[in-house]
Symmetry: C2
Subunit: 520 residues, 2 copies
Amino acid sequence: MTGKAGKEQEKGWIESLELPLPSLSDNRGDADRLAEALRRKIGVEGVRVDLDLLQQIPDRLREWDYRLRCILFKERAGWTLAGIVPPDRGRPAGIAVDLGTTRVVLRLIDLATGEILAQEGMDNPQIEIGPDILTRIHYAGTQRGLADLHTRIIRGIDERIRALCSGQGIDPEEIYLMAVAGNTAMSHLFLGISPKWIIREPYIPGVNMPGLVRGRALGLDINPCARVLVFPNIGSYFGGDLIAGILYSGLHKSPETALLVDVGTNAEVVLGNENWMMACAGAAGPALEGGVTRMGMMANPGVIDRVDIDPETRHFSVRTIADAPPVGICGSGLIDLAADLFLSGMIDIQGRFVPEKCNDRLKEIDEVRHLVVVSEDQSGTGADLYLSQIDLDSLIRSKAAMYTILETLTHTLGISFDEITRFNVAGTFGAFIRPESAIAIGMIPDLPRERFKVMGNSSLEGATRLLQSRDAADEIYAIREGITYMELNVNQEFMNRFSAAKFLPHTDRSRFPSVNAAGI
Amino acid sequence: MTGKAGKEQEKGWIESLELPLPSLSDNRGDADRLAEALRRKIGVEGVRVDLDLLQQIPDRLREWDYRLRCILFKERAGWTLAGIVPPDRGRPAGIAVDLGTTRVVLRLIDLATGEILAQEGMDNPQIEIGPDILTRIHYAGTQRGLADLHTRIIRGIDERIRALCSGQGIDPEEIYLMAVAGNTAMSHLFLGISPKWIIREPYIPGVNMPGLVRGRALGLDINPCARVLVFPNIGSYFGGDLIAGILYSGLHKSPETALLVDVGTNAEVVLGNENWMMACAGAAGPALEGGVTRMGMMANPGVIDRVDIDPETRHFSVRTIADAPPVGICGSGLIDLAADLFLSGMIDIQGRFVPEKCNDRLKEIDEVRHLVVVSEDQSGTGADLYLSQIDLDSLIRSKAAMYTILETLTHTLGISFDEITRFNVAGTFGAFIRPESAIAIGMIPDLPRERFKVMGNSSLEGATRLLQSRDAADEIYAIREGITYMELNVNQEFMNRFSAAKFLPHTDRSRFPSVNAAGI
């Protein structure tokens, strides 16, 4: 586990205090004395203290000789005291959560140092109800459905927290803060708020800025006064996970214009710099419905995440997760495969298999062409692993949608791709993507390779940062306020662009000077 | 029940809203839409909403066509949304509580109109543990003692709330706000916060400004999101009940200098006007310990609350509560009795019985002189009701303490009694007192009678006002900030004043020109 401490100049959420001792000439109340010390030291006005914490303060202060550490948390104007610990004992910790539809990843953070102590992932326990968010939203509308989904995710997170804590010898009672970044629907389910109206016109979330919530109110088995900050959403199709991603990317603080692309369940794109930010999301309009979302399997052992085809010999080399025998292909593997098929001339500019180049790898099944990627004797399933023409068409629609979104966004802002100095690729999908391949199929613009930065799980990283830095709590709302959300207007112009982008790499080849495909 | 609606120009805690309907061009989240409407209409920034309320918002807004009434509450900078109700149904209510050590009085308030719907009183259920606060504070330090005391008062209040509600056809779920005014120790016990350090040097309360607390956190069986505001204390010996009293008296808003005297368990005095306020409390220092506190019984049926003695015939007429046969005497009755004994010459200027005037009413029991106030054939107990020389000495110490406090306070501020344009007498005790009698014994200064105002239960009235007026929420903190608390310094000068005040009405008779006693 790599530890990443908060930068030296940034303050974390723990504040050490040494209170003036009470006397006949200074007989303020204990809690008032504490609040006043926080006001003087860090300018916190009217810090909120839960009754159960208030009840502990008089005895604890005397036990600790009026020296203590305060665990604070903040949401816009409102500061909350989430706990008090002695100056020299205890190990107050926080949990950062990437609340994915498919995968949930948790990190245990030492709040005193900002160090990442451990990390655990799990499949989202709501998958048993439905793998996609739409099924879950419908289920949430049934009797007890919302409560069921809410309980599943809370129980799952609780279990992972226990595992994380026991691995580090930390009591779950020592978890005082939690930062949760998820898409809008997942955030609703986590909070037990009905996501029903998110998917019905005019697509209204229950809440975009839920603020600080008590862990206990959510049913989490952590410190009774612990506070959970769920990252704010911009809207139904632009969630807190993106805000977390922007926070981590630093896009909102850089003078240079950068792009952040997150391909998860949806494709979400943010373009901007310290002065302005514009965002749009992918699953907008019928032409794109499911467009960028249906690419490949999840990243499990045996899943192909990289493919290389020798342009001369057309020999396939595949790499799988955990080097297990291949069982399927994930998004990044699929893009690699399509890119190399195109570069070796095995598919044409319309994405159709070229029989004379594919030779005996090509089979016709139910009148649909299938390419054997891994033959049955090599595969982990005992059967051939295929790429069908249908899969390929779907991928091409996805890549065309992605490119069209980027083109529309830059066009709207009147800037050229070349002005984008950094191209951040986030999301589980982005963690494995090879920019070369994505460029080769014309999914993303043909920019110098060094401008691409693979961000990994930027949502988790953003949630981590929030637990490491007090400043981050203000930044997330500044990001939210600073973003202009652009509704993708799927009009004739958009469709024209989309049609042009359905070629490999594009009808306008001059846009992709670096792509040297065998067939074109 | 006399109804007292909030003044026309003052806003209550209910705000009616008609939210802009959501649309594709206005797709803010439901809770955000609501928060924004509150911000626009009344300037509430960052209103707090509990998770359980947040969970209800999306469905309720649609059910009510985005028209609703919000029940708000405020504590310093922090606004809280305590509930939402439809525009045309439901009867959101609040409970004002005078949390006395001996007696607890509750009022049910209609939050929409400010009207007082009903009132209920009860003996403080903690009396079973100990009639005085000191016994309870010691008990709170034992195993489970604090929890026991807390539970007793909460259960007692819950019971009275149920009675109040059922009498008005209101569901306790419709109680959204509660305002509680009590002395510092009682406020602590109500909140479940240890009062241990209040009575130990340097006399430190656990908290002076507890802020808004969830009714549920206190264990109250009212609306789950209901908020309870416990009036802030100034210090261990100056509680929220006094702040409530000042709020009701209007002393803090008047250009004319006024005095507020509250004789309850302690004697508390506030002198001031819109520009300044100075306060001190009576049970300060060994000379006064118990001085003003041990006067008579509680106001129950049969308790004598008024005594008249014909100066000529020395015939006694007594009035009792509920006109029941006399069983004892309360504070105001005792003052009446002492005043008339003095005015009829039955006691001398040192407060000693004059045998030749008392005649056969005087008896010697255990070498102490006793005056028969009600003979056994007239009394409700079947035995003589006596006033002993010891009782009388104690009363004289009390009245001397009261006068000395007033003298010291005015002297410190360099103002004369005559500059006090209004003399407000509050507290259960004050509710029955006759200024004439208190002046006759020199307990309070000899001011024109019209300057005295009996305020009744000013603590309950202040709590009521807080539920009727939004402005009052700011006023109570302004009052708290505006008061200078004077520690009574029991030095030689104070003792000299006290000695001089132990005469009837005073060694310096010129101070009481209106008192024409038979014996002097």
